[in-house]
């Protein structure tokens, strides 16, 4: 360890570390630590790196991820592995095809080592709603790792694999990245294909990287981003490249901050964030205050929209094709969202809830777009509070409150990334950098600068 993602890639290329060894080490580490962490819920028995080593040996062309190990969130399809969504509903569902992102990762020589744990159907912010049991936080043992990409955050924090791909509908990549002290990126909506991702909220879902460092996240994003003709709702972006300009520095960039953040956030967390902002100022950026008056209204709007879309998306789990009818076997939070979605999508309530929620969404989008016209990125806290202890009882509203600061980026379709900014009582605190639509380059540069000073 201690190589950094690109360093490790070099080590594999130079032969210092073989791809087979890398996979072997990952599997050994998972074998040793997973029992306690519960980050992986299925391992790939065919994780095989010999072919890649042979290619290196013969000097054949290898991909950008050659020999690196990847954990895939359990709501993304990997042919031959179970995409359970950590639910009893899909407990025995084996994917019949690879998600587009998995295809791309495999094409670049990435090796899928297994499926990571998550909140059931990505409905949760703590990792505790998984039907396969909660995940522990390696960076703050005994605390939740955050969710819903709980296994991904924990796996990277514990060094179980080189990367994970997670999904983010209202913060599900950024939240665990913050709690586990790793790097997570929610790309701009429509940048990464969702083909093969089992839906939570289709208009909000986005697949993104969870990685030990910003370079790793940038590398993985380069591999998975870009349109495919086989998907309808995508942005017109062929491919992206970030790594070559990542080190350009942030001097002269305009960094937005909002007084709203302090209103919604635990002061101890805010202190860490303010410290990081000061460092950015010292690096020659201009700190600009932006107005986000309706930020907190995103939360109720989000939970209405996501529930309606989730209700629609889960109609296929009718008990006829995948074993069990979802309502009969799912956990409380999943059921709550289905019933809420079913209720508010009724004809007589359409105008009252769903349409109103969509209006709020438009309002927040306009607000963020206007702010991002004045600055390059907006920087602030990721999660308003520190992670609770595993097993603590929270009301649904207390649980939802974790998402106040991450939801707006999903509603607006912009990108958001998280990198560790510091700690409060030994618990990691991640800083969130929100960028414009397709503003990943600026966002990653700021993240890189923050990582370098942490």
């Amino acid at each position: 360890m201690g190589w950094g993602t690109l360093g490790k890639l070099e080590a594999i290329k130079s032969g210092e570390l073989s791809a087979a060894e890398n996979v072997q080490r990952a599997l050994e580490r998972i074998g040793k630590l997973n029992k306690k962490l519960n980050a992986f819920i299925e391992l790939n028995p065919n994780a095989e790196a010999e072919a890649i080593d042979r290619k290196f040996k013969h000097g054949a062309k290898v991909g950008k991820l050659a020999g690196l190990t990847i954990g895939v969130k359990s709501n993304i399809s990997v042919k031959g592995l179970r995409s359970t969504c950590a639910s009893r509903t899909l407990e025995n569902y084996v994917s019949t095809y690879d998600a587009e992102v998995v295809k791309r990762i495999r094409a670049e020589g990435g090796i899928v080592v297994g499926m990571t744990n998550m909140d059931e159907f990505a409905c949760g912010s703590s990792g505790e709603t998984s039907a396969f049991g909660p995940t522990d936080n390696p960076a703050a043992p005994g605390h939740i790792p955050g969710g819903s990409s709980s296994g991904a955050g924990a796996a990277i924090a514990a060094g179980l694999c080189d990367f994970c791909i997670g999904t983010d509908t209202g913060g599900s990549i950024r939240n665990p990245a913050s709690h586990c002290g790793v790097v997570g990126v929610k790309p701009t909506y429509g940048l990464v294909p969702r083909q093969g991702l089992i839906d939570l909220g289709m208009s909000l879902d986005q697949i993104g990287p969870v990685a030990p460092d910003v370079k790793g996240a940038a590398l993985l994003l380069e591999v998975i981003a870009g349109k495919t003709p086989d998907e309808c709702v995508m942005l017109d972006v062929e491919r992206v490249s970030y790594l070559d300009r990542l080190g350009d520095g942030v001097k002269g960039m305009r960094i937005g901050v909002s007084p709203k953040f302090a209103e919604l956030t635990d002061p101890a967390v805010m202190q860490v964030i303010n410290g990081a902002v000061e460092k950015l100022r010292d690096m020659g950026t201009k700190i600009v205050e932006v107005d986000l008056p309706n930020l907190e209204r995103g939360l109720p709007a989000y939970y209405l929209i996501v529930s309606v879309e989730f209700f629609s998306a889960t109609r296929k789990f009718d008990g006829r094709k995948y074993g069990k009818r979802i309502e009969e076997v799912c956990g409380e939070e999943v059921l709550r969202r289905i019933l809420r979605g079913q209720y508010i999508s009724r004809k007589e309530y359409r105008g009252k809830y769903y349409q109103r929620a969509l209006q709020v969404r438009t309002l927040i989008r306009h607000e963020l777009m206007a702010a991002l016209k004045r600055v390059d990125v907006i920087v602030g806290p990721t999660v308003p509070k520190l992670p609770h202890k595993l097993g603590a009882k929270l009301t649904p509203m207390e649980m939802y409150a974790y998402d106040y600061l991450t939801i707006p980026a999903n509603l607006a379709g912009i990108c958001g990334g998280v990198v560790k900014a510091g700690e409060v009582s030994g618990i990691p605190v991640g800083i969130q950098v929100q960028g414009k639509v397709l503003g990943e380059m600026e966002m990653l540069k700021v993240m890189q600068a923050l990582e370098a000073t942490a």
């Binding site: 709501n75 993304i76 399809s77 995409s83 899909l90 569902y93 994917s95 019949t96 095809y97 998600a99 969702r194 083909q195 093969g196 991702l197 089992i198 839906d199 909220g201 289709m202 208009s203 086989d230 998907e231 309808c232 709702v233 309606v308 879309e309 209700f311 629609s312 889960t314 109609r315 296929k316 009718d318 006829r320 094709k321 995948y322 079913q342 999508s345 009724r346 004809k347 769903y354």
Partner: protein
């Protein structure tokens, strides 16, 4: 008693690929669940492809044929219509908001036209589902309640079928590709909707039954409640649908996985440019341009290929003669052989030369029909067919001999004729035709017979 009938017609479009995936649409020709993929079976994680552009263009064309205004430069959402049934793999059907409005056909106003996808097929007896049909594109046509009787409805549907089939963009009605719901109300009663109708005939029968049922109820002073009923094809009756099916709320939402359609005037223009002429308009043009009867024009435009063939022929020979031939003899031959004009393999040139032979008196119309029959079966030069059939070269002497022979063999008929029974002459003429294997001109035969008998006397 005043009757109001409105129709909702679901018509399958004849594209090669399904609406949101690349699976083929020939669902009837292949074993169950072979024309399927993760998209049309709604596998977890699958996302639709962008809507098949050909289906959108076809629906625009159909709407234009029905005189509708296309909705341009507006967001047309593709919605999810949720219901729970085994034939629906995702638990929802995709259906667009109207792509066109305000048309008219046969005096019936068309309210709107929109796009839909077909569900799979569920067999409740076997308990099996076949998703080959899932995702086959449909166009839905909704009329205003402007129809006054089952007969009118049937007539409208026949004309509509002709219009749809004319575009070449739909599957034939006969194959179950046209399904419909009808709604009907009698003065003083509630509106009743009847679902599950799979043919024009079915619509007629369902409406007939409903009128009798509703009228009897009203006569007895009972109330006809507003309800939805199902048509039972085997019994030709309708029954109330279970209340559970009625209370259904489809919870429409715009499908987040598909960009809404926005149709621009340019697209409509280009569809209009490549569009075939609607049959009711073509009928009017044929009457005017070729000076043929409305009746003949109606028959000729009943099939697009027949009308195309007619126009190719009418440029070369007397259009009136051609129209008579098309309306009577050609149609008769095709019907007899259970063929449609699309199946015809002979060339316009061949039928032109046949009509010229008739025009020039080289063959009789009856002989011409025999040649036509052969022409349909084995397309070839009509002159050669004439030879082949041995119809040529009946000399006058041969005919006279045949006439004499027949008169000789049927003295009784001759007497009858002389006694004033005109039919007897037809009987004799038939005998002569038979003897000459249809090679004689019947008009000549009658003339010779008459001369001979009268002369004999």
């Amino acid at each position: 008693m005043k009757v109001k009938i409105g129709l909702e017609i679901h018509q399958q479009m004849a594209t090669e690929r399904k609406m949101y995936c690349n699976c083929p649409t020939n669902y009837q020709d292949v074993p169950p669940n072979t024309n399927v993929c993760p998209i049309c079976t709604g596998m977890p994680g699958s996302k639709p492809l962008p809507p098949n552009e050909r289906t959108v263009d076809a629906a625009i064309e159909i709407a234009l044929m029905l005189g509708c205004k296309i909705i341009t430069d507006q967001t047309i959402y593709i919605q999810r219509k949720h219901y729970d049934y085994p034939d629906l793999p995702s638990g929802y059907q995709r259906t667009s908001l109207p792509i066109a409005k305000d048309g008219e056909l046969q005096g019936v106003r068309i309210r709107e036209v929109h796009l839909e996808e077909d569900p799979g097929q569920y067999d409740p007896v076997a308990g099996t589902a076949d998703y080959n049909r899932s995702g086959v594109p449909l166009v839905e046509i909704v009329t205003e309640p402007d129809i006054r009787s089952p007969e009118e409805a049937r007539k409208f549907l026949r004309v509509l079928t002709r219009v749809l089939e004319y575009t070449g963009k739909v599957r034939p009605e006969a194959g179950g590709a046209m399904r419909m719901d009808v709604n009907i109300s009698l003065e003083g009663g509630g509106r009743v909707e009847v679902k599950n109708i799979n043919s024009v005939k079915g619509a007629y029968r369902a409406l007939k039954f409903e009128i009798i049922r509703q009228r009897e109820k009203l006569k007895r002073g009972e109330v006809v409640v507003r309800e939805t009923r199902a048509y039972l094809e085997s019994q030709m009756t309708t029954v109330p649908m279970r209340t559970k099916e009625l209370e259904e709320d489809y919870r429409y939402i715009p499908d987040p996985d598909i960009y809404p359609l926005i149709l621009d005037a340019g697209r409509v223009k280009s569809v209009r440019k490549g569009m075939v002429e609607a049959p009711h308009l073509r009928e009017q043009r044929l009457v005017k341009q070729y000076k043929i009867s409305r009746g003949a024009a109606g028959v000729i435009v009943s099939e697009r290929e027949l009308a195309n063939l007619y126009e190719a022929v009418a440029r070369e020979v007397d259009p009136k003669l051609a129209s008579t031939w098309f309306r009577t003899r050609l149609k008769k031959v095709l019907n007899y052989m259970k063929l449609s004009a699309a199946d015809v393999r002979f060339t316009p040139k061949q039928i032109v030369s046949l009509l010229r032979m008739v025009e020039a008196g080289e063959v009789t119309p009856e002989q011409g029909e025999l040649i036509l029959r052969e022409l349909v079966k084995h397309p070839s030069d009509p002159h050669k067919l004439l030879q082949k059939l041995g119809l040529k070269g009946l000399k006058l002497a041969e005919l006279r001999a045949a006439v004499a022979k027949v008169i000789h063999a049927n003295p009784r008929a001759m007497k009858d004729y002389l006694a004033g029974k005109e039919e007897a002459l037809h009987f004799l003429a038939g005998k002569v035709m038979k003897l000459t294997h249809g090679r004689a001109d019947p008009r000549k035969v009658v003339k010779l017979l008459r001369a001979k008998i009268v002369g004999k006397k």
